[in-house]
């Protein structure tokens, strides 16, 4: 982990793989928060 980071470079965008993974995970969590049903079951959604 102490090695120099790998970067993606598209035009003016320069982002490290680690940051990209974190952003992708945040989007996944956001999508899951919206789409995954409440654990209490279909009939008990608040």
């Amino acid at each position: 982990m102490d090695a120099p980071a790998h970067y993606f470079h598209w035009g003016f965008i320069l982002i490290s793989t680690a940051n990209l993974i974190v952003i992708a995970l945040m989007i996944l969590v956001f999508a899951a928060a919206i789409l995954v049903p409440y654990p209490s079951g279909k009939g008990k959604q608040r």
Partner: protein
């Protein structure tokens, strides 16, 4: 009151819940996770950059910065508020400069703070230096400038071999000895301590060493190497293969695009802060901003969240 409460909860089924147990379990799980991840992933371990490193690895650059501090040609000397009354780094939002409004509240005098002050502190154990300082201080300003200019020319022709710097002989008066002593102070690590001037028990004011370091070649090279420059989304990045401050993407984005990089380049910091402040206020006040507060009707994400309610005939 109790009767009202009992009536309110009548018929509601209660279940025992151990909040303390949950807290202890959560604490234990997070502790184990932190220890395991720290052991597995370690942390970025880039050696810190000090004035000693700069003076040892790039003595010519170090001495040049010291000379610039003495003759007033350095970037710090022309910076402006909060360090001095110059205007080299003053930024404006239209006609207003927040820097100028707050004024000079961390006074930095490069000649005093980076050259004469540190030398004064070591003169007692060094008679030759004491004499050189006396000669310099009592000389007319024009003579001082002549010595400094002569040393500047000589420094450009200096030879650097590792940490050793050989300056051609010049008519530089006491400046040669003063710079030689400053290089020795830098290479021994003493300068790192001499620039800390806090009178408190704990040292928290690193303004002077950081300002000095900011203009060294070593700092610029390291920042370039690790993509830490403003022009390379620097504040989002870490030195190692770690995620950085991804949440600063919007703020950093402004440093990559016109007009912040073109017409507004001289005032980028001030205008980037202003832009992010305006956007943050818009977000904060969204429910009260006409038009914007109707966005949920155009982008009905809430219908996805409460889809069960709307599937079973709810309105909204």
């Amino acid at each position: 009151m109790m009767a009202t409460k009992r009536a309110y909860y009548a018929g509601v089924r209660f279940a025992p819940y151990d909040l303390v147990k949950e807290f202890v379990f959560a604490l234990a799980a997070v502790t184990v996770l932190v220890i395991v991840l720290a052991a597995l992933l370690s942390s970025p371990d880039v050696p810190s950059l000090t004035i000693k490193t700069v003076a040892t690895q790039t003595p010519q650059n170090y001495v040049q910065l010291e000379l610039d501090s003495l003759d007033g040609n350095g970037d710090v000397a022309g910076y402006g508020p909060p360090y001095n009354h110059q205007s080299g780094s003053v930024q404006y939002i239209g006609p207003v400069s927040v820097q100028n409004l707050f004024g000079v509240h961390i006074p930095v005098n490069p000649a005093r703070d980076y050259v004469l002050g540190p030398l004064e502190q070591t003169r007692r154990s060094d008679p030759a230096l004491a004499a050189a300082l006396q000669t310099f201080r009592t000389a007319p300003a024009t003579t001082q400038s002549k010595w400094e200019a002569a040393y500047n020319s000589a420094l450009l022709k200096a030879k650097q071999q590792g940490s050793k710097l050989t300056i051609p002989s010049c008519s530089c008066g006491p400046v040669t000895l003063m710079m030689s002593r400053l290089l020795a102070l830098g290479q021994s690590g003493a300068m790192d301590g001499l620039l800390l001037t806090s009178r408190h028990f704990y040292q928290t004011d690193y303004t002077r060493p950081l300002l000095f370091m900011n203009y060294t070649d070593a700092m610029a090279n390291k920042a370039t190497k690790y993509n830490l420059l403003g022009s390379t989304w620097g504040v989002m990045n870490e030195t190692g293969n770690y995620p950085g401050q991804a949440w600063l993407w919007l703020y950093t984005l402004l440093y990559q695009i016109p007009p912040y990089t073109t017409a507004w380049a001289a005032n980028t910091d001030a205008l980037a802060i202003l832009t992010v402040t305006i956007l943050s206020l818009l977000l904060l006040l969204l429910p009260w901003i006409p038009g914007l507060n109707r966005l949920p009707r155009i982008i009905p994400v809430y219908r996805l969240i409460w889809r069960h309610h709307y599937r079973t005939g709810g309105n909204g």
